[in-house]
């Protein structure tokens, strides 16, 4: 899943640039990135449940998502943000979109 891998790459580059980015801007960025991650994950899980992916594809997809989540958790921790601080909820009744 190209988009997820691109996002993972971007998240890694963000950390490298962390010192030169204002903290509040970083929080805004993380909120948006988390939003995208949740959207992406939802889409990915739907594809997995529908079937039609090879084991290899599933493995790669799962690994990418897992690493993305880990990376974002690290970034959150670095800026002292709990998941709740990003105040997003994209459950079945999510209303942000």
């Amino acid at each position: 899943m190209n988009e997820a891998e691109e996002l993972l790459g971007a998240a890694t580059r963000l950390e490298t640039d962390a010192d030169s980015v204002e903290r509040d801007l970083m929080k805004l960025v993380l909120t948006v990135v988390e939003l995208l991650r949740q959207l992406m994950e939802r889409q990915a899980l739907r594809r997995v449940e529908e079937g039609g992916l090879t084991e290899d594809q599933e493995e790669r997809l799962g690994l990418t998502l897992m690493l993305l989540e880990q990376r974002l958790t690290e970034l959150r921790d670095r800026y002292g943000l709990a998941a709740a601080d990003l105040n997003l909820d994209l459950g079945p009744l999510g209303t942000l979109l």
């Binding site: 994950e41 599933e58 493995e59 799962g62 998502l65 105040n87 909820d89 079945p92 009744l93 942000l96």
Partner: protein
């Protein structure tokens, strides 16, 4: 200078908003025609002109100021007489236009005022806490991660289904004690600032004579207390959600 309109009431000799201040501390006036009275106050053209207004409405502190001032007028007037609140930011260029508006919609206003007379609006909101996923082991590989996430989402959805069941039961019960019910859009966590999720946002038009029974029924519906479910009631409100005239 333009006129900001707050609400419409049945005509009465005395201004139902006498002594009430509206936006920017201007006194609220009563403009009457066709058996109706519009509650208005003057506002500067510069702030309330077409494009300026649109931009201002997206400026949150401005929006809050206007909303609270508008509500203060409606609230006070509604304690003195029946009123139909207008939607925010209804502006007319001069008095003549206001009276023209009253005359044009006179029959519909009178019918709507009759419909809501001796009723009050009550807001009932149900919130559901997100269920915490039980601790699980770190997934060994990508596919286990996927399976874990699917399991967690299913569990969360089941919790949501349960909460929706509670909400539907509450709504069914309240329909029987209300003249009318209106479902508002579920409130966004970004606006509520709460960690739990708004799953039901109702406005109930309740006859004053049924008020105690209505409130008591909500209290009963709260029992037994379901984990993570919160029911909040606001009111009494003027009939904002039932003021529609077509």
């Amino acid at each position: 200078m333009s006129w900001y309109c707050y609400a419409v009431a049945e005509f009465a000799p005395e201004n139902p908003a006498k002594g009430v201040t509206g936006l920017r501390a201007c006194p609220v006036s009563a403009l009457s025609a066709a058996g109706l009275t519009a509650l208005v106050s003057p506002v500067p053209d510069e702030e309330f002109d077409d494009t300026v207004l649109q931009a201002n409405l997206e400026h949150l502190p401005w929006l809050e100021e206007i909303a609270r001032a508008h509500h203060a007028v409606v609230d006070e007037a509604s304690r003195r007489t029946g009123v139909l609140p207008l939607r925010m930011a209804t502006i007319y260029r001069d008095e003549h236009r206001v009276r023209e508006m009253l005359a044009e919609h006179s029959a519909k206003f009178i019918e709507a005022l009759r419909r809501v007379r001796n009723h009050a609006e009550w807001g009932v909101k149900v919130f559901a806490a997100l269920r915490n996923a039980p601790e699980e082991e770190e997934p060994a590989d990508g596919r286990s991660y996927l399976r874990q996430r699917i399991r967690q989402r299913k569990a969360r959805d089941a919790g949501t289904d349960e909460a929706i069941g509670v909400a539907e039961r509450i709504e069914r019960e309240l329909r029987q004690l209300s003249a009318e019910i209106h479902r508002h859009r579920n409130q966004d966590p970004a606006l509520t600032g709460r960690a739990d999720r708004n799953i039901l946002n109702l406005a109930c038009l309740v006859p004053d004579t049924s008020r105690d029974r209505f409130l008591a029924r909500i209290e009963q519906l709260r029992q037994p207390a379901e984990a993570g479910i919160v029911v909040e009631v606001t009111g009494p409100w003027a009939p904002y959600s039932f003021a529609g005239i077509s």
